[in-house]
Amino acid sequence: MTRVGIAACGIIPFTRDDQSIESVLLESVVDLFEGSDADRGSVDAVLVSTNSNSKYLAPILSETAGLGPNIAHTVENLCNSGTNAMVSGYSYIASGLADVVLVSGAERYDSPGQVLEWDRSRGGFKHPIFWASILARSYKRRFSISEEQLAMVPVKNHRHARDNPNAMSKKACTIQDVIESKRVTDDIRLLECSRPCTGSASVLLASEDAAKRLSKEPVWIAGIGQKTASAGFTKSESFSSLESTRIAADVALRMAGHAPKDIDVAEVHDAFSVCEPMALESMGLCGPGGGAGMVRDMYDTENRMINPRGGLIGSGHPLGATGIAQAVEITQQLRADAGSRQVGGARTGLVHNMSAAGTSSTVLVLER
């Protein structure tokens, strides 16, 4: 089986702009081909990741970007659509059905993917803020974590986002700013939430031979782990840890032949502040209940290892583009091409992308 590499990346600024999904999608593809030596004629599959209800987006993207793929279709899986599309692209290449796959994610600020209508066990409490509040309360209770400790997550990630030209947030904030921001619920402040936005990100995946031909410095997908624990939030095993993330990370790290301590840089799915420490713990990057302390240490020492682009909280969360934007960041980090966000000497990186309160997760391990 061939190795699969990321041969090129494209990304655009995340905004609240009212722009058609087709044009948002095209923009990161234009950025990708402008910034690389890859030729468009090499693309033989196009996968679009989005929660948009617009139809036939992969053929539309192919036509508008001047691509002539054999395979072209959409992948949807709520917030981890992006990494699911990357895993699909990987599989096409590994199976020999395709050699070069363009994976593009895009979303509009008013995405229908923000609420899973099917999950009616939540009654009228359907918005993500309700599951996030239950997780935050449960996590704080189990590990005796204060709201000030959780507030460090947005403080750190908004600070990182200031060095990310594509991030929606441009403003640093203090713990006090977070605590004094609008109390959305008793357990979540406004500054602890990632915001839906308009944005797009793309990666060009290629077989080993093609990746070496198309790029001077391909980044390899060394590990993939996925777990779907349930669809409904009320089915979750725990509300203070992420079971699907734990399994996905374990599988991905084993496939890559790595342990959690080998990870130099990671983008984790901080949809709300509590998700970051929960993800760090569930992936074994720290012990149970140790996530908030790890965030504090990273902030104090200006260590950008976790969410160097600002995560979802700092960058914004265009659902279908998020997983791909995370992979773009880790690719840039591993190529030592992340500018003022650079984590020195990063050789092994990780992407953690999840959906619907962590009912499903994807973890990718990337290597230079």
Binding site: S121, G123, I134, T185, G232, T234, F239
Partner: protein
Amino acid sequence: MTFESELAEGRFRIPECASCKKTVWPPTPYCSRCLGPVRLSDGDHTGTIAEFSRKDGEYFCMVEFGDVRILAGIRDAPKVGQKVGICRCGISNGDYFFEVQ
């Protein structure tokens, strides 16, 4: 008679498999374990509050009825571990709603 038609009448009835007796939640027409047909169980259901929070002055809580979990509204300040029953439920504007006390 389905979970939803009963709920529309303000009755909360827990679906279970007619063959293997597994609780089937969220409600679907077939058992996720044996794919057998689902019926509705009778009786008063007592639940336990597993977690809660509050938005705009109104409490909401995660309530467990055995294998069934729901998010429900509750008027008075809840406690984790508190025993509750459904006091009001139904369908409003297409959304299910549950209230416990």
